[in-house]
């Protein structure tokens, strides 16, 4: 009688303990936070970022996962496209003890969140926040970004114009706004190696005044320098007028605009006759990416959502997950310091959708892919393939 009772008790105890043991053996999933504008004015960006990260997660698991197949769980925090909710979302992810965070879109929204992650020693990889000051205004140890910086396209322009377009006499024009000046300065910096090597010459570097209507004086000056390529880093209203007036003055060299200069309004202002053939430095649209991962990514995305991302940014969110997965796998743990070490120094061999991923010591993306786009005769913008 007594023995029977003890047996029953033991059996029951075993039944309770067993699932605990199994659960323990399976290990908890790695939680990675995604802070994105799920609601608010940029909700479409948040939605696409979420979808992209999910597709990236699927791709990681297809390839065998990380840390020997440990599960990854994405924890989403909505920042509603505004700084206040961003601070709350960040605080929430911190309190949920996620391993690291991907996010977010919008520099001013990212800023307060980055401060909170920094204070809590949590890694945060921005995917759609391109403001220069995010990494340059103050030292942030835990902030990275997979997207470029506003001025990275300047660097791309210099390399492309000298190496691909074989331009020798280069003219750069900006409008003294923070953004345009930043791009121009970056272009100038990247040009230095070619200037030193004597294979290129910076023949023109000057600013226009935004809001003006007649640019003939400065364009006359530009014409006299006889440039091979003419890069304007400012905004579309001036860009449209500049192209028109410049061509009328007889400046025939290719016109390259920054990504704020060329858009549909630019074509309207300049007129299609003047706009066609104008070039633009720009982050590639997902469809224009040609890495192996991009192909698979787009395939899966289309399968799941019957469409593809319509802006360049969501793929950077996916790349942030690839970077984090790579760092965790290589570090062998989800300890922040270990991950940080990999992100800072050991990213060789990490491939993302937008190419190989690496970070500068300030946390900016290294070797970001840009593309040269061209305005076609129909007024569309396609990748430039001369």
């Amino acid at each position: 009688m007594r023995k029977g009772k003890v047996w029953i008790c033991l059996c029951l105890a075993f039944l309770f303990v067993l699932p605990l043991g199994i659960a323990y053996a399976q290990e908890k999933p790695i939680k990675i936070g995604l802070q994105a504008p799920i609601t608010g004015q940029w909700a479409y960006e948040g939605e696409m970022a979420k979808n992209s990260v999910e597709v990236a997660l699927q791709m990681i698991q297809e390839e065998g996962g990380i840390l020997g197949g440990r599960k990854i769980e994405i924890v989403i925090a909505d920042d509603a496209s505004n700084p206040r909710d961003s601070a709350l979302a960040a605080q929430r992810l911190v309190s949920q003890r996620v391993a690291a965070v991907i996010g977010t879109y919008g520099s001013s929204v990212n800023e307060p969140a980055a401060d909170i992650y920094e204070a809590n020693k949590m890694i945060d990889i921005g995917y759609g926040s391109t403001a220069v000051k995010l990494t340059m205004a103050k030292e942030r140890k835990y902030f990275f970004r997979t997207c470029g910086r506003d001025d990275t396209q300047g660097q791309f322009f210099s390399e492309y114009s000298v190496e691909e377009m074989k331009a020798r006499r280069i003219a750069i024009m900006h409008d003294n706004t923070t953004f345009a000046l930043g791009v121009a300065e970056e272009a100038k910096k990247a040009l230095k190696q070619y200037l030193d090597a004597g294979i290129a010459e910076l023949v023109f570097y000057d600013a226009i005044t935004p809001g003006e209507k007649d640019f003939t004086p400065i364009l006359t000056k530009l014409r006299e320098t006889n440039p091979d390529v003419w890069y304007f880093t400012g905004y579309f209203p001036e860009a449209g007028l500049l192209v028109r007036q410049g061509r009328d003055l007889g400046i025939k060299c290719p016109f390259v605009g920054g990504n704020a200069a060329i858009n549909e309004d630019f074509i309207k202002i300049a007129g299609l006759d003047y706009a066609k053939g104008c070039l633009m430095t720009q982050e590639p649209m997902p469809t224009d990416l040609d890495t192996p991962k991009a192909k698979r990514f787009l395939e899966l995305y289309r399968q799941k959502h019957n469409t593809i991302p319509t802006s360049p940014w969501p793929v950077y969110a996916a790349d942030a997950l690839f970077a984090l997965a790579f760092a965790i796998d290589k570090a062998g743990s989800t300890e922040t310091d270990a991950m940080l070490n990999v992100l800072r120094t050991g990213m060789e061999g990490c491939d993302g959708i937008t190419g190989s991923i690496g970070f500068t010591d300030r946390g900016d993306r290294r070797g970001i892919i840009y593309k040269m786009y061209v305005v076609t005769e129909k007024g569309e913008m396609v990748v430039y393939n001369p």
Binding site: I76, D78, N82, P83, R84, P112, D115, T178
Partner: protein, 607 residues
């Protein structure tokens, strides 16, 4: 009473204790939620001054919030001025901005004002985006705003910020409660309830509307300062139209003019979306649904303001009654002195034929319609003068011109020999001219005593600071006003309903209340627009007796419009007959009764 106070004190203590212990039991995330709750409570209270207390539709309140935040951010990042110092600066800056932008539009009513404030909100936001003078940093805003520190004590963690904002909030709440229960708060409420009645009772409408905007903006500026120092970044994304409408929701949800309501509303607006975070995409949908449901089931707000019995607030006054009364008498006397001296100065050369009010060829037109045509009126001092005439004769228009609601096209109005043509109604009221309206204009959601105190407003002097500090003279003044108001309530037979809301009174009593309000300002000319309409025979009788007794007791002159011929013939000393905007006859009641023109034009029609 003592017991009730005890329990309310106990629950207040419990709430304070709960707030102090809260951060210990929550994580940083929920502490931050509580911090933003505090910021939005500040914002809600600031909009409550404008929208709740004064009834001005302001859908651009985020603009003032933005100004405060940007002043803090710019001055802190450029000149390194400590955040704490910038609190008053942000408040002043936002207040000044409000003064400049709202003074040209303050006369607009309701929906028009609403549209203009939306415009102001958008203009400010777009201006910030366009980076004027390179100050605002364009769409990305200003980063690197510092943290506030109280002496050596740096406020940097969520917990410290929590105590910081709630500490400020407690001070603000105390100030606002005191303000709400003072002359200033009442003046705002009068404006909200009925600005024409407020103006003719002697309240400077423009001044107090502007004051509400400036104070609301200043408080929003303080909230902006706290916000900027918490997030360390300000950017235009925060100060959208959506933000303004959120603030609007806070006040509407909580209950117009209710301080606890606004705080509660802020709690709902900040905490609900956080609770619904689990449903991600749908959280705003849930949130919207919650708003809709609350408004359906509690249309007056969740915690509407209960008008408190005013007597209780001037506490402990019984002990010092004698002392205060002496002082009051002194105030009263000095005011009376002022009056009599001014009267003497002006009276001697001007009271030709002893006329207190005269009009000279008064003409008023509305578009093409001539409502009053070269109307001459002379009201004898200490007598009852009646204006009679068929409907549409222009009687009420005469009243509206005399009391300053309309500006006459031509002609002059003289009161006690002074030209008052075109003066603002509140100025005319201050001169000693009070009126009632044809269709009662009370302040329906205020108590009877508060209604009557409106007439005393222009004889009181306390202002914002003295009301917050509750200086001795302010308290004495309040007590004085209460006593006079009570006196008139009792005199009109409303003594027992002094704490009842005016809208709950039956029609006859509402008429009497309006009369009490007019009388409380101790006018020398009382203008009554159809005082007996809607009253039964007995009430009319009583009214006539009352008016006649006033004439004797109060050194008063009465001018009235009346349709009831018994009243007109019974109490008038002089009758003026109007038709088609013109005076067709005047004389003693007897003369008028037999006047052929009158019988033809007016009385004759009855037969």
């Amino acid at each position: 009473m003592g017991k009730g106070r005890g329990t309310s004190k106990f629950s207040l203590l419990a709430i304070i204790l709960l707030f102090c212990l809260y951060p210990l039991f929550s994580n940083f995330y929920w502490t931050d939620v509580a911090f933003f709750f505090g910021v939005y409570a500040l914002l809600g209270l600031s909009l409550n001054i404008v929208l709740g207390e004064t009834g001005l539709f302001d859908l651009g309140h985020a603009a003032f919030y933005a100004i405060g935040a940007y002043i803090t951010a710019i001055l802190n990042t450029l000149y390194g001025i400590p955040i704490i110092w910038l609190i008053p600066l942000s408040a002043i800056g936002a207040g000044l901005f409000a003064y400049i932008v709202t003074s040209p539009i303050i006369h607009l009513r309701g929906d028009y004002l609403c549209v203009v404030t939306i415009g102001i909100g958008e203009i400010v936001r777009l201006a910030l985006i366009n980076n004027p003078f390179g100050l605002t940093g364009g769409p990305n805003g200003i980063t690197g705003v510092g943290r506030p520190s109280l002496g050596p004590f740096l406020i940097d963690s969520p917990t410290r910020f929590y105590f910081y904002v709630w500490g400020i909030l407690v001070i603000v709440i105390i100030c606002l409660i005191r303000l709400q229960r003072s002359r200033i708060g009442r003046a705002w409420n009068y404006l909200r309830e009925d600005d024409i009645a407020a103006e003719t009772s002697g309240i400077d409408v423009r001044h107090f509307k502007l004051l509400a905007f400036v104070m609301g903006a200043a408080l929003a500026g303080v909230a902006g300062n706290i916000y900027a120092s918490k997030l360390m970044i300000v950017s235009p994304d925060t100060f959208t139209f959506m933000e303004s409408s959120m603030l609007f929701c806070i006040v509407m949800l909580g209950g117009l003019g209710s301080i606890p309501g606004s705080i509660l509303g802020a709690g709902i607006i900040t905490v609900f979306p956080e609770i619904f975070r689990i449903v991600a995409n749908y959280r705003m949908l849930f949130f919207g649904g919650a708003l809709v449901l609350t408004m359906i089931f509690r249309p007056g707000g969740i915690w509407p303001r209960k008008r408190e019995a005013l007597r209780l607030q001037v506490s402990n006054i019984d002990d010092v009654k004698g002392k205060v009364r002496g002082k009051l008498k002194a105030i009263d006397k000095s005011q009376n002195m002022k009056k009599t001296t001014s009267k003497n100065n002006s009276n001697e050369p001007n009271t030709i034929g002893n006329h207190i009010l005269t009009t000279d060829k008064l003409t008023m037109t509305f578009g093409g319609l001539v409502a009053v045509n070269e109307f001459d009126l002379a009201v004898s001092q200490g007598k009852i003068t009646s204006i009679i005439g068929p409907n549409g004769a222009g009687k009420t228009t005469v009243f509206n011109v005399v009391t300053g609601i309309y500006k006459p096209v031509s002609g002059r109005v003289y009161f006690e020999g002074n030209d008052i043509t075109g003066l603002k109604p509140h100025k005319i009221a201050e001169l000693g001219l009070a009126r009632t309206f044809q269709n009662i204009r009370l302040f329906p959601n205020l108590t009877c005593i508060e209604n009557v105190m409106a007439g005393l407003h222009h004889r009181m002097n306390s202002y914002v600071l003295s009301s917050i500090v509750r200086t001795e003279s302010q308290r004495a003044e309040e007590k004085w006003a209460l006593e006079i108001a009570m006196h008139w309530l009792e005199k009109t037979g409303l003594g027992d309903v002094h704490d009842e809301l005016a809208k709950n009174l039956p029609y006859g009593k509402q008429k009497l209340l309006e009369l009490a309000r007019a009388l409380s300002s101790s006018p020398r000319l009382l203008i009554l627009d159809e005082p007996s309409s809607g009253l039964n025979d007995k009430e009319t009788e009583e009214l006539m007796v009352f008016l006649e007794s006033l004439l004797e007791e109060q050194n008063l002159t009465i001018l009235l419009i009346e349709h009831d011929m018994n009243v007109v013939m019974g109490i008038s000393h002089w009758v003026v007959v109007m038709d088609m905007g013109m005076k067709i006859a005047e004389g003693t009641p007897k003369e008028i009764y037999n006047h052929p023109k009158v019988i033809e034009a007016y009385l004759g029609r009855e037969e």
